[in-house]
């Protein structure tokens, strides 16, 4: 067991009206690592992510992040602790410009969960604006900064959502299929981007279907099937595990 565990999911169960969506989940993620959760459709991957960010309350068990119990906290409190999330279907502000989409999370980090900030104008927030433009340049959306976010392509929306998370400099970044629906080229760009973040020491939990993405990024992999973790280990160990091949990899790859 690694001694620098930062995220600890212990003994988590989640039942939906008798259906065991998650059973006996025990997961430890070490600081700075990229931990991938893979598994067939309906394995409970998204449910697990929802439990971590506070969207769902577990039926049993607890999630602890760096000594702080997350279970029972609201999503905004969990974000303020330093956990950001990219959704499977991008959750963005479609009516605002790309730049504002990215400035908002930066203001959240600076001002906290609530601030009656009426005495300034947005135009005077030059530092926040500069920071947002830098992050947009990182993800390759600087040119589109004045476009309405709702008008972006699906791939661009995903990259913008990633920028919205990155600008918060979260300690833990949760990614729910960050490359789903992307072209091979965009997927590779995103992998490069995520590798770049990795060198900054951010811890990541990533749910992914695309094995190319998983094996390019993950330090450790947990395999989820039927709401249980059936295997866990380094990418090579998992790749060779016969149970995993049977449950998941065998048919698909």
């Amino acid at each position: 067991m690694p001694d620098n565990v930062v995220l600890h999911v212990s003994d988590v169960h989640k039942n939906f009206a008798g259906l065991h969506a998650l059973s006996d989940i025990d997961l430890q993620v070490a600081e700075g690592q990229t931990h991938a959760i893979i598994g067939p459709n309906g394995a409970g991957k998204s449910t697990l992510l929802n439990v971590i960010v506070g969207r769902l309350a577990p039926s049993r068990g607890a999630v602890v992040f760096d000594g702080t119990v997350l279970t029972g906290r609201k999503p905004y409190e969990i974000n303020q602790i330093g956990i950001a999330r990219v959704f499977q279907t991008p959750e963005i502000f479609p009516d605002l410009t790309v730049l504002h989409n990215v400035m908002i999370p930066a203001l959240s980090r600076r001002d906290g969960a609530f601030r009656l900030n009426m005495m300034r104008t947005l135009d005077s927030e030059t530092a926040i604006r500069q920071e947002a433009e830098d992050v947009l340049a990182d993800v390759g959306l600087y040119e589109r900064r004045l476009a309405h976010a709702g008008a972006l392509s699906r791939g661009d929306k995903r990259r913008m959502e990633l920028a919205m998370c990155l600008i918060q400099k979260p300690r833990l970044l949760l990614l729910d299929e960050p490359t789903a629906g992307m072209s091979r080229h965009d997927t590779n760009t995103t992998i490069e981007l995520l590798k770049k973040i990795k060198s900054r020491g951010m811890t990541k939990v990533i749910i992914e279907h695309d094995m190319h993405v998983v094996f390019s990024l993950a330090d450790r992999i947990s395999v989820l099937a039927g709401g249980r973790i059936i295997a866990e280990g380094m990418p090579d160990e998992v790749r060779g595990d016969p149970r995993v091949r049977e449950a998941y990899l065998g048919g698909a790859h």
């Binding site: 960010v53 609201k74 905004y76 479609p94 009516d95 400035m103 969960a113 609530f114 947005l122 005077s124």
Partner: protein, 377 residues
């Protein structure tokens, strides 16, 4: 600190708005609406609509109960006249504070829900307020008759200062006629300026972000409830200010000001003018008040004179048809205008203005799709 107080575009808009408001006695002349009483109403309901738009236009929360705060403002102002002084300043301060507190209470409960449930809750609270004012709280509201000034009013402050004014005044200057209009107009401009500041501030951007995607706000670390509650209270205070101003023009407060129809009216004003824009709600308020006061005064005599040039039989027929749309029937015309605007210009009159500007700037590209509605900034 390099805080920019107002950007250049904001300043131009504010300047244009100020000129338009102050010059009302001139440009309303051809419309037959340039008399102080009506212009005062234009200013008052403009304030009401601007405040309503801070909640509805920015956060997207549609309140059907804002007339309650308007009414509370009126009652508070009249009580200030009765107990303290006929001066307008204490009445306004008192009204804004009381309606703000009242909005805090109602908003706190109503904002536990969103969407249609929020709207229904506000509607229920407003109807409760109306019934309280109409019957239960008669000692405070004087029920059906309405709260009025009487000779027996103590007016402690006036008495202590030896003032014996009988009509609302500002530092001794009676607020009658044009003085009353310019007082309300000044406050409308201040109200517009504050709304402009809110819209352009980080706080205003958070409100728009809540309208755009509340889920993302939660996962971005924002506690959205205090934001929506602040917007609710601010818009309630605007409504209270407007209600107090109406009591200043005519020191009488009745329960009917709190009725659902009055709450619905401000929704219509905002949608008609353009939800989420700064100027739109004011224009919507002016149009509705114009219809209510000018269109409703047209009678068959005026119509006969208007259509005098037609042959007799045709004249009678035209007058018969059009008479259904004026006078008592002004609601019918307003309804038609509303339907036409919502169907053809979902962004309200301001969208029409934007389309015109867009069309005027790009005459060389026929058949271009019109721009999507965007909040004016």
């Amino acid at each position: 600190m390099n805080t920019i107080l107002v950007t250049r575009n904001d300043l131009l808009l504010l300047l244009g708005f100020t000129i338009a408001v102050l010059a009302m006695p001139i440009w309303l002349q051809p419309f037959g609406a340039a008399y102080p009483d009506l212009m005062q109403r234009f200013a008052i309901y403009g304030i009401f609509a601007i405040g309503f738009n801070i909640l509805f236009g920015l956060t997207g929360y549609l309140s059907f109960g804002h007339a309650a705060f308007f009414g509370v403002g009126s009652y508070a102002a009249v009580w200030s006249f009765k107990l303290l002084t006929m001066d307008a300043i204490p009445a306004l301060v008192f009204a804004v504070l009381i309606s703000g507190l009242f909005a805090l209470l109602i908003g706190y409960v109503s904002l536990k829900r969103s969407g249609i449930y929020f709207s229904i809750l506000t509607l229920a609270f407003a109807q409760m307020s109306y019934n309280l004012a109409y019957s239960v709280l008669t000692p405070i509201t004087n029920g059906e008759t309405g709260l009025q000034l009487t000779l027996a009013d103590p007016r402690h402050l006036d008495q202590a200062l030896g003032i014996s004014s009988r009509s609302p005044a500002l530092l001794g200057q009676p607020l009658l006629g044009y003085a009353g209009f310019y007082f309300c107009a000044g406050l409308l401009i201040v109200a517009f300026f504050i709304a402009q500041r809110i819209t352009g501030s980080p706080f205003g951007m958070m409100l728009r972000a809540i309208k755009s995607n509340q889920t993302r706000m939660h996962y971005t670390g924002f506690n959205t409830r205090p934001y929506t509650l602040a917007a609710f209270v601010i818009s309630g205070m605007y409504a209270g200010l407007a209600g107090a101003l109406l009591a200043i023009t005519d020191p009488l407060a009745g329960a009917e000001r709190m009725q659902w129809a009055a709450s619905g009216e401000v929704v219509l004003m905002t949608i008609l003018g353009g939800v989420g824009t700064l100027v739109g709600p004011v224009i919507g308020a002016w149009i509705i008040k114009y219809f209510e006061n000018i269109f409703s005064a047209f009678n068959e005599g005026i119509l006969h004179r208007t259509f005098d040039f037609l042959p007799d039989g045709l004249e009678d027929a035209v007058v018969l048809v059009t008479s259904k749309f004026v006078g008592e029937g002004w609601h019918l015309t307003l309804g038609l205008v509303f339907v036409l605007i919502v169907v053809f210009l979902p962004g309200g009159i301001m969208e029409g203005v934007r389309r015109l500007v867009h069309w005027a700037r790009r005459p060389a590209e026929p058949g271009r799709a019109s721009p999507r509605p965007q909040p004016a900034e």
